[in-house]
């Protein structure tokens, strides 16, 4: 798979915008998970702007590809890419975490383009297996189901139930993407619950494995192309995307303290400026600086 320089540039810009918007949302919404949103930016960009077939103007188009965000706390990044892809106006993402707006964890009823609702970890791959089976029932040979999981999430037994069944049903229309960012909520994966040899686990569960640098757009595009068109041979495919949690802003990188935390407006402003610098973009701060309403707190709760 060769990407034109223009396409590469576009995908890179989308990844940048995913990070920007995620941070804006989390800051404005006063809640959310920066680390696991940032680590997904490149592969979400490649999925929605290169690898997947979706029609923003016909979100229910029957032959579309599906994406299940099993690590549903990564919602801001998904809300961002769906906005950028045209499922709804960008301004709508700022309803994130407002009563009646886009929900903290994915809620299909609130956000166009979502294919599932979530929150508890470990459940999405089963849902994706159901979708992949449905495509078989519908004799849809071109359709693919993508499912994004966290590395810490793979502690959940439900993931392995789903993995076992996907192999049993020979679901080569199912592509799992692991955001292997080495960090979970409260520490490093290897400290809290070691998952290595991780690729071996998937292989032993009957999957084809591709490991890839999850921030390398060309490699990602190539990987998804292979997974979709080259490899189908009776096995589900897992893309283990090696990423950096919080990638793009130094203090969040590889740091569980930014797993879940909403920065105040000043901090967000600085982070966004750093992000722009790191991405060789014109410096741009927090767009709602000063504009954000003071959100009430109750009995001192955060």
């Amino acid at each position: 798979m060769h990407l034109s320089p223009e396409k590469l540039c576009e995908l890179d810009e989308i990844a940048y915008q995913i990070r920007r918007l995620s941070l804006e949302m989390i800051t404005f919404g006063k809640w959310g998970h920066i680390g696991g949103a940032f680590s997904m930016a490149e592969f979400l960009s490649v999925l929605y702007f290169q690898a997947m077939s979706v029609k923003p103007d016909a979100p229910q188009w029957e032959d579309r590809d599906r994406l299940v965000l099993s690590k549903a706390h990564g919602s801001p990044a998904l809300y961002a890419v769906l906005a950028l892809r045209g499922f709804y106006p960008i301004e709508q993402v700022y309803s994130y975490c407002e009563l009646g707006g886009f929900e903290g964890h994915t809620d299909m009823a609130r956000t166009p383009g979502l294919e599932s609702s979530g929150g508890p970890l470990g459940m999405g791959l089963s849902v994706a297996v159901g979708m992949a089976l449905a495509m078989r029932f519908n004799e849809n040979a071109r359709g693919r189901v993508f499912c994004i999981l966290g590395d810490g999430e793979s502690n959940e037994g439900n993931v392995w139930e789903a993995a076992m069944s996907a192999a049993h049903y020979h679901l080569d229309n199912l592509i799992a993407v692991i955001d292997y960012n080495k960090v979970m909520a409260k520490g490093f994966v290897w400290e809290e619950m070691a998952i290595e040899p991780f690729a071996d686990k998937w292989r032993a569960f009957g999957w084809d494995v591709i490991e890839v640098d999850g921030h390398d757009i060309e490699a990602l595009a190539d990987t998804f192309h292979r997974a979709r068109w080259v490899m189908p041979r009776g096995k589900p495919i897992v893309v283990i995307a090696h990423t950096v949690k919080g990638k793009g802003v130094e203090m969040a990188e590889f740091n569980y303290k930014w797993h879940t935390h909403a920065p105040d407006a000043q901090t967000a402003d600085a982070m966004l400026r750093e992000l722009a610098r790191n991405c060789q973009r014109p410096e741009q701060g927090y767009s709602k600086l000063g504009a954000e309403e003071v959100k009430e707190e109750f009995y001192g709760g955060e």
């Binding site: 299940v68 809620d107 299909m108 009823a109 294919e115 599932s116 609702s117 979530g118 929150g119 508890p120 459940m123 999405g124 791959l125 089963s126 849902v127 994706a128 297996v129 159901g130 979708m131 992949a132 089976l133 449905a134 495509m135 029932f137 519908n138 037994g157 439900n158 139930e161 789903a162 076992m164 069944s165 049993h168």
Partner: protein
């Protein structure tokens, strides 16, 4: 009022509830081409086998993995199918509660959940297999409908009503052969109860197989000159508020009977209505917050105080409370 077809003795042409379940699965399969039955290695016990035989292409075996069973069902429902993920009630409501709650119920998906082997009759499997908390648990989930049929015809009607409505439904199937209360023409309506027998002194609210026990208790009470009204509430959620309030207002006291724990389940559902509409003395019959042992079915019903005699005794306690309070 429906004619009470239960004569003095139990056991007239009893219909095994599981057979009714299997047969209705097949019937619905004919009607709904998008229906899929899923199983977690229990189909010959639950009788989902009948669907498997009729529509092998629409039967999905997931092995012994109940979390996956419900997750897959969610995925199928999101793709336009109507899944019936079938397993024992304990493994649905306990093992896969998070999946049922968040993958299915929260997005209001069109999944119909049969819970097999509910309550006491599980053929000596013991505590871990006797599902007593499912009514309380499923009732607590927003969007979920909950039903417990009295006999084969009721189960069939409930399954039809489950398929006819969009959204998640949980319904119970006892491992027991029940004498028919209802005819083949029986209809089920969500949120509607059925007055089976009119009475003046006390109302017996039954759900599931316990409705038959209530009818028998009413016979016993009649023998003592007590006029008991019997109401079957197969639809536990939504529940028939009007019928409950109206009957309680007339009789002034009540008993609830359920093949489940008395904590937070059907009895509580009736009490919640009465607290707002018409508070009356109420006794609950069901498993009294104990784990259920292995044992013979009749033995267990006796052991747990859930026989018609126990219902009749509870009715007299409720009536006594009523008299005491009106003095």
């Amino acid at each position: 009022m429906v004619e009470n077809r239960v004569s003095g003795e139990f056991g007239n042409n009893p219909v095994e509830m599981r057979d009714a379940f299997g047969a209705t699965l097949v019937e619905l399969g004919r009607q709904y081409p998008k229906m899929i039955t899923l199983d977690a290695d229990l189909h010959t016990s639950s009788k989902a086998t009948m669907f498997k035989k009729a529509y092998p292409d629409r039967f999905v075996q997931v092995g012994i993995a109940e979390q996956n069973l419900f997750g897959i069902s969610a995925g199928l429902a999101l793709s336009g199918f109507m899944p019936f993920p079938s397993t024992f009630a304990v493994f649905a409501t306990r093992r896969a509660l998070d999946q049922i709650a968040i993958s299915i119920c929260f997005p209001n998906l069109n999944v119909k959940i049969p819970g097999s082997y509910v309550g006491l009759p599980t053929s000596r499997a013991g505590a871990s297999h006797n599902c007593i908390e499912d009514i309380a648990v499923m009732r607590a989930l927003p969007n979920m409908r909950v039903a417990d049929p009295a006999d084969g015809a009721d189960l069939r009607a409930i399954m039809r009503a489950a398929a006819a409505v969009e959204g998640p439904v949980y319904f119970r199937i006892a491992r027991m052969a029940m004498p028919p209360i209802f005819g083949a023409d029986h209809k089920f309506e969500w949120g509607k109860g059925v007055l089976l027998r009119e009475g003046r002194d006390v109302t017996l609210f039954g759900t599931g197989i316990m409705t038959t026990f209530c009818l028998r208790a009413a016979d016993l009470l009649a023998g003592e000159g007590i006029s008991a009204e019997v109401i079957h509430l197969g639809s536990i959620k939504p529940i028939d508020r009007e019928l409950i309030a109206e009957s309680a207002a007339r009789t002034g006291c009540a008993v609830t009977a359920e093949n489940a724990t008395i904590n937070g389940g059907f009895g509580a559902a009736v009490l919640e209505v009465l607290g707002e509409e018409c508070p009356v003395p109420l006794q609950r019959i069901g498993v009294r917050d104990r784990w259920v042992d292995s044992g013979g079915i009749k033995e267990l019903f006796t052991h747990h105080g859930m026989q018609p005699e126990d219902i009749a005794a509870a009715a007299k306690v409720a009536m006594c409370d009523k008299r005491r309070r009106s003095q």
